[in-house]
Amino acid sequence: MLAYAVRRVLATVPLLVLGTFIVYVLVAVSGDPLAKLATCNTCDQSAFDRIIDLYDLDKPIPERYANWIVNAVQGDFGPAVSYGSLDAGALVLERAANSARIAIPAFLIIMAIAVALGVYSAVNQYSRLDYAVTGLSFLGISLPTFVFALLLQTIMIWMLDGFGWRPFYVTGMRTIELDGFLDMIRSHVLPVITLVLVLTASESRFQRAAMLEVINSDYIRTARAKGVPHRRVILRHGLRNALIPMVTIWALDFAALLGGSVVTETIFAWPGLGPLFISAVTQLDLNLTMAIVMLTSLLVITFNLIADLAYGWLDPRIRYE
């Protein structure tokens, strides 16, 4: 098990190198950082030289990448030019923490609701509630995120108009240190609800499918034939097996949430990774883009590894050698 984990971690190294190389090349060839200076009247040759020196623009792309990765593995992702030359690594970590502030509670709520709805729907297949959950799930899957987000904001603004008061803030992040506990909650609720609405829909469908497969299996019938009470059949014999395929989905969804949600964070003016990534890409900020790519790749790889190890723990048929 430990040897397997170590081997898996080592195997991520070439994966990361390959992944970042591809992104580096794509970003490097997608635009010229000097182009913006071309129309700048006040810029002299030294400004051009600074940019050329910063990105090694006088060297071939593979060499630029080599320089970047050597610094990156030492924790130096270079200055984020589009953000006042702040350290790109530190900036990304700070924004990642902000994304996590909504990603973690959203994910916990999603898991709880999706498991409950999925199991209930499967056990009561074709019941009214099953149809209701199915209908709402498809609504949730089909409607784009911004519809929910804007809808929630609109409701708050109606309330502000009608009652002169609204329970939750529609934009911006407030922290417990600066604004107190209540304001922190009031600013976090809407983005969290939006993320929950979007992901619960698909996750509950996966959970329902996994549970349906399990409760129609022979060993569930065996458990019933033993006279085991219904609840125990569902939870101990059914859910235990139906959670195994969910682990991969959770890992991928959680990694994606932590990597920042572009639409939700943008609409709620949340200072997370999502808006940062959009601005880094549109401003051709190579260092910032690469720092974000590095972090999101690490997240995906890490959570995949956790999922694989969790498989072995949940399913005795899987042994790591």
Binding site: S217, D218, Y219, R221, T222, A223, R224, A225, K226, G227, V228, P229, H230, R236, H237, R240, N241, I244, L314, D315, P316, R317
Partner: protein, 339 residues
Amino acid sequence: MTAPLLEVEDLRVTFGTDDGDVRAVQGLSFTVSEGETLAVVGESGSGKTVAALAIMRLLPRYARIEGSIRFRGTSLLDLDDDGMRGLQGDDLAMVFQDPMTALNPVITVGDQIVEAIRTHRDVTEAAARDRAAELLDLVGIPEPRRRLDSYPHEFSGGMRQRAMIAMAISNDPKLLIADEPTTALDVTVQAQVMEVIRRVQEATGTAVMLVTHDLGLVAGTADRIQVMYGGRLFESGDTDTVFYGSRNPYTLGLMASIPSAVGRTAHRLEPIPGSPPSLINLPEGCVFGPRCAFATDACRSEPELRVVDAATGHATRCHRADELPALIAARAAPREAGA
């Protein structure tokens, strides 16, 4: 004579589907006495497994079950879920066809047996484990105590079926229903598992209802045989009577299609032509009529199950039951002469 252990009367099981009603079991009546072994034989789709599941009340909710099933005087179809659970796995136990899928893959064999015991008996975990080890020993699993902590995938098919049997008999059932217990196993293992069932029956005195498509398998085991076809009982009687004095063309067809390892192998096996009827669109008259070599115009009406020998309780569902021995002799004669 006391009342039989299990009394099934006019059992009808119907599944509503989009294509029409599937009438899986049609007016099935039979009894099982304490300690006896009843073999229920028939092809796929003859309704034997559905009947077994109906007795265990393990059919899906959308199945319509009518008639009466009385177990030790209690009407099973009138019991509420809690009452039924009190019997399931206790006095009334079942072994399933496919041991590869019938055990929960993520729970150890020991825990699954312990669960069966502690669902019905108020004993400590340790006592239940001791009992589980005894049971594994009884069904012939070596090193039973160590094997308690194995997962089902660490067992071979035969061992899994032994473990299933151990689990089923953990509360000394009065009736053990074994649904095709050997079908999914290698031939060499089949005999071992049948031997385990026999040994278990000796040790616990349980009655066994053995559901199988394999007539050969039941010859040495069953006290009585019941042949089913198209959801109906076609013939029932003592094992010897059915084997040597069958009065039903379907039973005779089944026996003609058993390969024999000894004796004359000069003539070919005689399969029953055609395939079992669709349970949605049953043929008019005798349901076996379209496949029967002896069918006549009389067979356009459905024959009743009737007793041909009151002393042994031998009953058959065939219009021509009385002429059948003569007909068989007439058919066999040319072949004997030719050979």
